[in-house]
Symmetry: C2
Subunit: 440 residues, 2 copies
């Protein structure tokens, strides 16, 4: 089945209407969000590579067109158009890893209206999950204060695609790696992992399990909490004392009071002269739990973070939308009760002072404002440009650099008193006023 069918039905019924009406004008759609989720001071743009990949390979297979035909609800005109469908549009976008704020376009599609409309659902889905997770993961990485954060969430992410997005997006914002092997293969992200409780349980004694595992995987991490955590740590000490050739580089705590257990484990290890054995912790972690552990002085060297990062548990969605802002050269708006939309194709400028971002300007596409323009052209006539082929490593370096340039209050976990300033230009406000006036 073609990816092209990953679309809401209304994209097809509208496409049919555009064709019937001979509406072949160029549309500009912008993808943005209106509000940040609670407790978020910024989002991190992500998902662009997947969007461009989708657009480049967009085809309706013959069998899919035949199936659509059998539904009996579309014109032959549409079905013929779909059979030969290619995306020929231009795309402008914020590079992945860019901090982004409400009402700023992350993605801008400029294409014949039928093409731009048809890709709505897929682009939203792609940008949504990756931006959502990158934004959550950035908070978790921040809370860890330079200690290693590893994505352990594949099993609780919402399906396979989400698990890939999780590994990629958390790596993008500074995670040290992932447990998901497939993500290592696909993007070269470092992979981590050692043993589960099942391995310990499958052995007659815990000691036997530890000893054998360390022999087979020198330098491994040993999971110590299957029976009694501190007893487990003492077994690690005893095994290493009995056989100086064995190498165990870390232990993992996965239940109980992690701070208390980490402090006790550290003491036991240090007293045995095992100061080099690190302590890794997992179990229901997120930015708040990590901050609390570090506040309590827990000597933890790395965190395995699962469900709460995988699902962005406290805020599992961002209200991303994909809105028509221009058709056939004319700015378009929407004035319904609460969801006002600035018309016209836009650019975003970001100003910096002394290495800190101080504010953005939301401008018409053809305005020049102080600061750096954030939207870059990444696709032309349906083909990726060089700017649309950034290696993930480069996006990661951008994210780390850019997050460090955010005002300190925004980087913290607490809601910043004052949101980051994003100001529309006078021209943009006047465009909206003009449309309002014309409608009243």
């Amino acid at each position: 089945m073609s990816d092209a069918l990953f679309t809401d039905l209304y994209e097809l019924t509208m496409a049919d209407a555009y064709l019937a009406e001979g509406m072949e004008g160029t549309a500009v759609f912008e993808l943005f969000f209106r509000r940040l989720p609670p407790d978020r001071n910024f989002a991190i743009a992500a998902g662009l590579d997947g969007c461009l990949d989708f657009l480049e390979h967009l085809r309706f297979e013959e069998e899919d067109v035949a199936w659509l035909r059998r539904l009996g609800r579309f014109s032959d005109r549409l079905l013929d158009a779909l059979a030969g469908f290619r995306f020929h549009g231009d795309v402008w976008a914020m590079p992945e890893g860019t901090p982004v704020f409400p009402n700023e376009p992350l993605l801008q599609v400029v294409a014949p209206i039928l093409e731009a409309q048809l890709v709505e659902t897929a682009l939203l889905a792609r940008v949504h999950v990756e931006t959502l997770i990158a934004s959550k993961a950035a908070r978790i990485v921040h809370a860890a204060r330079g200690r290693m954060v590893v994505d352990f969430g594949a099993r609780r992410a919402h399906g396979f695609d989400a698990a890939f997005a999780l590994a990629r997006s958390s790596w993008l914002v500074g995670a040290a790696g992932t447990s998901l092997v497939a993500a290592g293969r696909r993007w070269g992200i470092p992979i981590f992992g050692t043993m589960a409780h099942s391995y310990v349980q499958a052995h007659d004694t815990e000691r036997e399990a530890f000893e054998r595992f360390a022999r087979i995987h020198p330098g491994t991490t040993i999971l110590v909490d299957t029976w009694d955590t501190l007893e487990g740590v003492r077994k690690v000490v005893s095994i290493l004392e009995a056989d100086p050739d064995l190498r165990i580089d870390a232990i993992r705590l996965d239940s109980g009071d992690l701070a208390e257990l980490a402090i006790e484990s550290r003491r036991i290890l240090d007293e045995a002269g095992l100061g080099h054995v690190r302590i890794f912790a997992s179990s229901d972690l997120d930015e708040w739990a990590i901050e609390a552990l570090l506040e309590r002085g827990a000597p933890i060297d790395g965190f395995g973070v699962g469900t709460r990062m995988a699902t962005s548990l406290d805020a599992p969605s961002i209200d991303v939308v994909y809105k028509l802002v221009e058709y056939d050269g004319v700015g378009r708006a929407k004035l319904s009760t609460t969801k006002v939309l600035h018309p016209g194709r836009k650019q975003v400028f970001r100003e910096e002072a002394d290495g800190v971002y101080v504010g953005d300007t939301l401008a018409r596409h053809d305005e020049r404002c102080p600061g750096t323009p954030l939207l870059r052209q990444v696709m032309k006539d349906g083909r990726r440009l060089e700017a649309g082929r950034e290696p993930l490593e480069a996006c990661r370096a951008r994210a780390l650099d850019a997050i460090a340039r955010l005002p300190p209050a925004l980087r913290g976990l607490e809601p910043a008193g004052t949101p980051y300033p994003v100001r529309p230009t006078r021209a943009l406000v006047e465009d909206l006023d003009r449309i309002r006036a014309a409608r009243h």
Copy 2:
């Protein structure tokens, strides 16, 4: 890339150890959850078909094995085993659509320990997302009191796979259909959808947009809130009065106070003799919002539900786990602080009185207890049995029937005062006590 790499790294490091140690015994792993999310009185088992599909087609492609080899962390013994890997295990499961409670196995894998271990991550991910969404969607369908619920959430689901799971799982528990075309193609789920705001915006006037769309798609639904909702409804009336050949079967409200707007819209339509034009509503809906609308007497005939169902927003995860309960004929447990596990392979019996489920018994696999056994064998030696090939329609019928048999307090939206009773048998409790005693 093979799906087989959709695994946490530790499954591979453990597999390597099992091989090195010559551990070829049969393992029994059970997949279950320990707690229901807040506000849930039951979960609905889902995701089995995807699990069986994964197991049947599990292969490591040559290139993937070559990549694993280059990592330099696995033995040749493991890499050779992966090159020829097939899943040969037996699987027992609750059929999809079965209400399920904490500590009841949804899935039971009986296989050589290496095979059973390797598939952990994928099985958890599959069951997690589908069970999560089915359980949320069941509440939304219940709240709608027989009115149509349509999945509109593809764009805010966590990626493509999650959007498929959403369409399938919500249909499983009684949704009328989905907006996702691909899900219609894949499973024959009815698809719904008409027009977006962009269609209206792309026209010079709203009236022109409505009229043309109705002409091209007779019997369509018209989105009336792009500018002013009630003005939009009046335009629908005026268009139908001007041309009696036009057919508009419904309007859609997508912003504002939906109850008030529905009442006013109904009045306007009825006064114009358009009692047959139905009212469809969307915009931030979930079970609570729908209940509130209906309590206020909103004359809404159908609901389009997006983000909140797509992400199970109030509870975006369930703590599903996959635990070793038996190895080489010996029951296995885990006694760490808070996460106690009953050892041994199990069966679940459900009792019914006067058409209402009254309680379950969690038993040893070889016990016979009153009630219907819920775990059925669906795969033998890695091949699906007939019971593992249920059409989705049959699972849907089961879900609707079974939900209707739940005690009424459990079907409601509020947390039931008393949880559904799930009692372990004496034999099961004794097995745990025996393991506890042996460890102390």
